[in-house]
Point group: C2
């Protein structure tokens, strides 16, 4: 499976993708006339531009409340036959639940199309931030021509920074691999640290590749991999209104286009999994207020859905998350969360182990507690990356879910997000 | 509907019920020989004893991990044909996920039956506390004869105190009403402040009445009222393994037994609703770390299930709960939680108001934000009892869900529960 290599470059790692990002004052107003246009304030708007027309696939939030940018992006891709050339994305305002939301999202596309001289329906638009505040269009009018001017094959980090909201670190990951005898590249950027929950698409994620893949196969790969990566991530159990995961393929690697589930498709999916899994781990680690990355592996499940449901149920439990923050080997809470997972298996066969780089410890066998050393448990749980291993002993399938502990700082950050 | 009057007496308000409670050291060991048997430590074991054989109905957790006491209680009631005389209940240890759990629960019943000279299958047993620790039987052996000795028609508060775990206040409520021309009484006690979640039975709840009701009608009333009270309560979204709600009827009021859905049945259900609703509100107010009681009323829904699902979705959202703690009118989070509720309605018709004793404010109409005064919102949200009013504008049905804010103290309490 190790037919890929981690590389730098994020969304610019693949051939044919330029990017840029800058601060335009979506939340705090336009930069002062006397300031340099590129303020030292955090970037809040980004652009991606492909040298050629790309195939595009997307997965979106399942929330009934959908951000206007999602509505517009879907319409655009329907009109363009799944082709895209550019992405425009802002942070600081979600452009959701506003009467003029679609109008503003369309205007973002129009401005971008004009600056790049492409059809507006080939623009993917996304927004993230506060819900229900009117999106100010002036900063965007100001920014778009500058973004177009600044586009560069090294602009990935500028762009990755621009989509951050309460994120404390930018999230980028890229790999190279060989498909059809050609070197291909696939890289992505992501944002999100709260309001991340299983069963929605994801937070904002953009992935680019130069591997030639047909629209159908692109969508298929994305949907499959989202299910076992972003959809297995939970920070707080809330589902955002704006979550979007876009995958865009330029085809510039020169490989024979992947149009069936052949070997190249498996290789491509594996590369996509590596990038999305690593972005998922970055999102979990940077969960709002998180001090620990928690990975829950559910193995020996009868099927994939059961494994996913159980692993997510544990990762999502607030009581379990608090126990992890408190470094307390309260395995009863783990078993409790396994027990209320809505799936069919025999609770009396369930094993639980806790693990970290400090070792591994059995805490439950056949649904009942076993004696264990509290000192060893403490040693394991004081690490900042914890693994919870659930064995259902009812089959052969495994799944992994990622999350974090629940801390004072989560409450602090979210008690005062708007201001 | 006001055919009832609130009275004192909790589980001893109804004719024929004695209760007692004491400290026996379930968690911290037997009281020292030199201490008085009734230590000044918090009571941790309680007994209820009925003068006559009672009809009993129960609702239990839907968690696959079920506490041994639940398994034993169900078996007992099956054997006794739904008849019960006594309840024995401890806090400090859930007697769950232990290899010898059933054995210990059976022993609790046996000891109680012996002390009260009744059949063991007429004993209801319950435990609450840490999961996965072996239940020490010595303190219980010590306590049961003393509890039997101490039984009194005024013992309700001793018992209500004994079932508390992280609860900061005892929870009791009782009403009197007239059914079949006779004065009847119905009262209950409850415990719970974390791990309370919709779709499970409840936390530990015991309700007694002297109203004569057939076993079938008793179960019917309990199931209906649990659905719209305890099951509409969420503190943290976790579902406990030990949740039990028992309703026991002595029939000593002398009314004609309620055996059909007649007027008396409606009156009885209303009394039960009053008691269970008020206990639910007490549980929500005492949510772990809570500083605010949050009530969410979903109205104009097409059906009851939709109304319940939407109201619970809001009450459960961690982001919304943090916003309430921060007194932030972040209505976007409310609409977001409405949007991910798994029910069928038109999000574009949804209205949201926030309210408290300081007034009422429209924040969202037809799924979009409306201008509102931030000062007014602040004034409303700084109160300690907040109402969130959701109008679906898609029907005639309403439901209420209860919860609390998410605070630093929730994290603190649950980061270190076992010790």
């Amino acid at each position: 499976m190790e037919n890929f290599e981690t590389i730098n470059g994020g969304i610019c790692a693949a051939k044919g993708f330029k990017a840029s990002g800058l601060y335009c004052g979506i939340k705090h107003g336009l930069p002062d006339g006397n300031e340099s246009p590129i303020s030292n304030k955090k970037n809040d708007i980004a652009m991606i531009f492909a040298d050629v027309e790309c195939n595009a696939a997307g997965v979106y939030t399942s929330n009934k409340v959908k951000g206007a940018p999602i509505v517009v992006t879907k319409k655009n891709l329907a009109k363009s036959g799944g082709k895209a050339r550019a992405v425009i994305v802002n942070s600081g305002n979600a452009n959701t639940c506003n009467a003029d939301g679609e109008e503003k999202a369309l205007e973002m596309c129009r401005l971008t199309a004009e600056a790049l001289n492409i059809p507006a329906e080939q623009v993917i638009v996304a927004s993230t931030g506060v819900i229900g505040l009117t999106l100010p269009i002036e900063p965007i009018k100001y920014a778009v021509p500058l973004l177009a001017e600044k586009l560069s094959y090294e602009g990935n980090t500028e762009a990755a920074t621009a989509i951050m909201t309460t994120d404390t670190v930018k999230k980028e990951y890229a790999v190279k691999f060989v498909a059809g005898g050609k070197e291909c590249h696939l890289g992505g950027m992501a944002k999100g640290s709260g309001m991340i929950h299983p069963n929605m698409a994801t937070t904002l994620n953009f992935i680019t590749t130069d591997c030639a893949v047909s629209p159908e196969m692109l969508q298929k790969a994305l949907s499959e991999i989202v299910k076992i990566t972003y959809n297995c991530l939970s920070v707080d159990g809330d589902q955002s209104t704006n979550d979007t995961c876009m995958l865009i393929a330029s085809g510039l690697a020169g490989n024979t286009e992947i149009t069936t589930e052949n070997d190249d498709f498996q290789i491509f999916k594996n590369a996509l999994y590596q990038v999305m899994k690593n972005l998922t781990i970055m999102l979990a680690k940077d969960g709002e207020g998180a001090t620990k990355l928690i990975t829950c592996v559910c193995s020996s499940a009868p099927d994939l859905d059961t494994a996913i449901i159980v692993a997510k149920s544990v990762i999502r439990s607030p009581l379990f998350k608090c126990a992890m923050f408190g470094e307390d080997a309260n395995w009863g809470r783990i078993l409790c969360a396994v027990g209320y997972a809505e799936a069919d298996f025999d609770i009396n066969k369930v094993d639980v182990d806790i693990a970290s780089r400090s070792g591994k410890l059995a805490v439950c066998r056949n649904g009942a507690g076993v004696d264990f050393s509290e000192e060893k448990a403490e040693e394991i749980l004081k690490e900042d990356e914890i693994e919870i291993l659930i064995g259902l002993n009812s089959g052969e399938v495994s799944a992994t879910a990622w999350g974090c502990d629940l801390t004072y700082d989560y409450v602090k950050i979210n008690g005062d997000y708007r201001s």
